[in-house]
């Protein structure tokens, strides 16, 4: 969460790109049209009333005080008060509607983006780091939240303020206005320069903050290594360099904005001076009233503040546009594994036919599988063995259609997987990964992962089926036990049991297993073994095997090497091949066994 805050070139967009991105976002926000219209209306109401105030002051002075008309003065007072009250109401509503429109849009964006990410196939997740995807869904959307909450409100109100103020000023006295606005070029030039340099400075701060935080994180994560290496002072010195770099970057942003704020404040006062100057001249010639000069001076003050606000808004808009474009890039990525029209449900048969399959992982050159063919009978147990990178996990993933083959086909029960409805495929073929991955929630929530509608009785039956019901009902909260983040409340073995029960609840025809390489605590190890054995009963099983005991229990063994299926047969058949791969593997395993193994599970 802390690492990926660096600046990448994607954070800078040119004008036409930005416009395109914003148009597209506006199109997506169509659902919020009504709330947005109401928001703009209320913002306009609140803003316009703020502008009307000085007009009543003018009226009071010119038609009331100067001519001695008390009722006109009172009318101005009542009018001013009324306008303030209306503004108050508008202002209250604007916060609500701006929030509804903005947050409604963000919610829509979150749901759409997440749904789209979930539709992606595994290749997408290999290419995109978890941290980056998470920050698309969080930091990037939150950076827009600032825009839709405050930015929109400020943008509309500043826009209205500026334009209405200008119109009113021109109507009051175009001569005075033009003279006063002689300072405008200064403000415009300053704003343009500010936008450019503040954007750069701001991006640098973001990058430095990210770097600094990842240094902190690295130091905290590596504190033992640092201390064991007697490096504490050196790492402190390095942190100081990084920390001071961040300070300097902060100072640069301060310098940029400091300068700008000074100029805008000066320009505002200069405009007043100019208005007074011209006012003196014009009043002398009877072409404007004193009340008009006063109103112009008051309005000028409300003209310069929104200009400042708009300039600051520009940064927010920039980073939001950059975030939006990154999200659109994801939304434009079509999933590689997808369903086509006319997909059919998979049948009950568990026969798996792999036919001349070639496959390379997206973005890689070398083939992970070449010309792999294999026929697995319904209910047969297959163990895949071989060294790292031999292609056994790849074959398992293809059978579960986590990827599509580049050439050749994989069929279950005679149906090509590409023609199968994904929902029915996930019911018929289940992958149980190496380690039991649990989500935050209760054990029951985790069991219901694939079948949210399953009843309590069905859960109990599934647990019974693999013989672990007692284990979980003995917990104080039973199946309602909160497993916490990643299931940290449970032991590794228990997590594996939940993972197996989860599969049992789905009751698939084909089971794809990735066997764990690491060991569990001896207590649960046996229980996991037994549950696994029960789960496999009566199903077609493809297991990526790491233990000889598993291999021996399989009906047939498939030896993978270099992406090819080099040997296929029963354990006995393969051991008998002189100079065979399996024979060698098996011998190597036997040799690494300790002598007089008391718990020999092989056989």
């Amino acid at each position: 969460m802390w690492g990926g805050a660096g600046v990448d070139p994607d954070d800078r967009l040119d004008r036409s790109e930005a416009a395109q991105v914003l148009r597209r976002a506006a199109g997506m926000a169509r659902g919020q049209r009504r709330a947005a219209a109401a928001a703009v209306g209320f913002v306009a109401m609140a803003t316009a009333t703020a502008l009307l105030g000085p007009l009543f002051v003018r009226h009071g002075i010119d038609s009331g005080i100067r001519v001695g008309d008390r009722s006109a003065l009172m009318l101005a007072v009542v009018g001013y008060g009324g306008v303030a009250a209306v503004g108050f109401v508008g202002s209250r509503r604007q916060y609500i509607y701006v929030n509804r429109a903005g947050e409604g849009f963000l919610r829509e964006l979150r749901l759409r983006l997440f749904a789209h990410i979930q539709r992606q196939s595994l290749g997408f997740f290999d290419r995109n780091k978890t941290g980056v995807l998470v920050s698309r869904m969080t930091a990037d959307i939150e950076s827009m939240s600032e825009l839709v909450q405050w930015g929109l409100l400020q943008f509309v109100s500043a826009g209205i303020l500026i334009s209405v103020a200008l119109v009113v000023l021109m109507v009051l006295s175009w001569q005075l206005t033009l003279v006063a606005l002689a300072v405008l070029p200064i403000v415009v030039l300053a704003s343009i320069r500010f936008q450019r340099s503040s954007n750069d400075a701001y991006l640098e701060v973001r990058e430095r903050v990210g770097q600094n935080l990842s240094t902190i994180q690295e130091h905290l994560a590596g504190v033992r290594v640092i201390q064991a290496s007697a490096r504490t002072d050196e790492q402190r010195r390095r942190f100081k360099v990084s920390n001071r770099g961040l300070f300097d970057a902060h100072l640069r942003t301060v310098r940029v904005s400091t300068w700008y704020f000074g100029v805008v404040e000066l320009a505002g006062v200069l405009a007043t001076a100019l208005a007074v100057l011209a006012g003196g001249y014009l009043v002398d010639r009877q072409s404007v009233s004193v009340g008009t000069v006063v109103a112009v001076v008051l309005l000028l003050a409300s003209l310069f503040e929104p200009v400042q606000q708009l300039s600051q808004l520009y940064n927010t808009l920039q980073s939001a546009t950059a975030s939006l474009r990154k999200m659109f890039d994801i939304l434009d990525t079509e999933p590689e594994v997808d369903e086509h029209h006319g997909s059919v449900d998979l049948g009950r048969s568990g026969e798996v036919v792999v036919d001349s399959v070639n496959f390379a992982y997206p973005g890689t050159e070398s083939a992970a599988l070449s010309d792999a063919s294999l026929r697995i009978a319904s209910g047969e147990r297959i163990a895949l063995v071989g060294p790292t990178g031999a292609g056994k996990s790849t074959l398992a993933k293809l059978i579960a259609r986590l990827y599509d083959p580049d050439a050749g086909s994989i069929a279950i029960g005679g149906t090509d997987l590409r023609d199968a409805r994904l929902a029915s495929l996930r019911r018929r073929v289940v992958v149980v990964p190496q380690e039991g991955f649990l989500f935050n929630g209760t054990i029951a929530d985790n069991l219901r992962l694939a079948r949210p509608e399953a009843s309590d009785e069905e859960l109990a039956a599934a647990l019974d089926r693999i013989g672990v019901r007692r284990h979980f009902s003995d917990l104080p909260d039973g199946l309602d036990t909160e497993v916490r983040e990643r299931g940290s409340r449970l032991s590794a073995g228990e997590r594996q049991l939940v993972s197996l029960a989860r599969a049992a609840l789905v009751d698939p025809t084909v089971l794809v297993l990735d066997e764990a390489t690491s060991n569990l605590d001896p207590g649960t190890e046996a229980e996991v073994e037994m549950a696994l054995e029960r789960l496999m009963e009566g199903r077609t099983v493809v297991v990526v095997a790491h233990r000889l005991s598993t291999v021996r229990r399989a009906d047939r063994v498939v030896v993978c090497d270099g992406g090819r299926l080099v040997e296929v047969g029963t354990h006995a058949e393969l051991v008998a091949i002189p100079g065979g791969r399996y024979a060698a593997l098996s011998a190597a395993w036997e040799a690494s066994r300790p002598v007089a193994h008391p718990f020999s599970t092989g056989g």
Partner: protein, 594 residues
Amino acid sequence: MAEPTGSIRSLRDTDWSHLLTLLRDRRTGLSIGVALGLAWTLGKIAVPLLTQAAIDRSIEGDSSVFAWAGAIAAAGVVTGSFTAARRHIAFRESRMVETLLRERIHDHVLGLHPGYHDRAQTGQLMSRMSADLNQIQMFVVMIPLTLSHVALIFGVGITLVVLDPWLALVALVPLPFVNVTAKRFSNAIHPAVLAVQSEQAQLSAVVEESIAGVRVVKGFGAERVRMEALSTEADDIQRVSLRAARVRARFLPLMELLPSLGLVGVLGVGGLRVLDGAMTVGELVAFNFFVTLLVWPLRSIGMTVAFGQRAAAALERVHEVLSVNPAIVDPHDPVALANAGPLGRVTLRDVRFGYDEGSTVLAGVDLEIAPGESLALVGSTGSGKSTIARLLLRFYDPDAGSVMLDGIELRQLRVDDVRRAVGIVFEETLLFNDTVAANIAFASPRIDPVADRNAVAQAAALAGAGDFIESLPDGYDTVLGERGYSLSGGQRQRIAIARAVLADPRVLILDDATSAVDPSKEHEIRSAMSTVMEGRTTIVIAHRPGTIAMADRVALLDEGRIADLGTHEELLARNERYRQVLAAGVSATVGGDH
């Protein structure tokens, strides 16, 4: 990192002492800021006064309008430059406070004993060094401005009273309510904003686990379930965010309305007074100006108070971290390690240790390892093998008994001396975001990764890492770590061994150094290990028989004691428990694929 900051306490219960100390340390800069703020304030007051004079004396009277306009412009230059200077000082001071505090926390935490880090959560410490410091910075930046605001309010108030006491009363009555409303707003919005942050954090957790667990989601077709979880969180965010908007709607418009009421009063009452001839039009206009001038300062004072409370609370949390005393420190008069003769004798005498009070991991361990000897520590999970390693590094001090290096108790040595004499290769190698060469030279202060490239390369070659390093895109200059090039488990392990080789410690601990390595690659690590073990006291913690057999002797650790001691073959032959432990440790792997 979103983390509840706790509820806001009342002003009296807030502990301001840390904050005051902090401000005292920055008093020079802050005073300059306040002085600049005051100058700015004067300019700010001058503008409406001058405008009033201009209207009264030149537009309505006869004096030169040029002079007045010029005076206004001059006041503009003054306020403009003081605004700039004031902002600059305020931000510089506040960022400096933040920067220095962050360094203090970082440096302090980095020196705290591993026992502290076992319990501390990284996320919490990160939040001390980011979110909490932000709160403090946001408060400090407001101090000069707030103090000059206070001055402004007094200045304007006095001016108004001097101009016309009765009208002043009308104009000023609503304003204290602005202040009160601002404070109440700030206190009401804070929990609402925290709630939004906490919901965002929950959504982030759902996204994170859905993506980290994507293989499970895909494998079980659980997209729908995860989508529901996400949509719940998205709805929650929307709900709490609307709640925050309601708080804003309740307070912010009110803060705008109150000064308007003052202005309306000024127009009515003031207008009547002008009509009665008690004041001039120019004065009335100036009144208007002044009242508007007060709005923002009053609002910001209210907010500053609330910010101050939050900053004080944040600082209290920071001090909680800073007040932890390091448990492992240098002795008052350290003894120097011998540098001649056979070096690297390790002695444990009746060592007892537990991580928590009441728990026992080591229950009286006696062990003697001769200089140059290698010893394998074998035992089931949790038997205390790694604990012995950590005691030797003096990550912890034993509860009883003594741990000695070359006859000297570790507690009598300087901590850095112990850690230079004892090297370790951890089970999981942590590589830093730096070049390969710098990672290898990490534990060797006298080796410069660039200038002493030969020494680095030699160590890498000894560790069997030379070949793959040469083949990296930038060789020894390839940047590693989380944001750099990623290496396989075996490669990382060899870098770690090279690190230990270069540091040349008299005692080397290999803590499960091969367990993260693909078994088919294990022999490569083993040969690297045997090179570095030669002539050096080495403690090997291992599960796999092949690795265990490399050691001269094996110690079987069981129930917190050394249960047996001898060669691998002797123990295999005579010790049933030894065979059991080995059997449980052997995963009987036929090839590991991940």
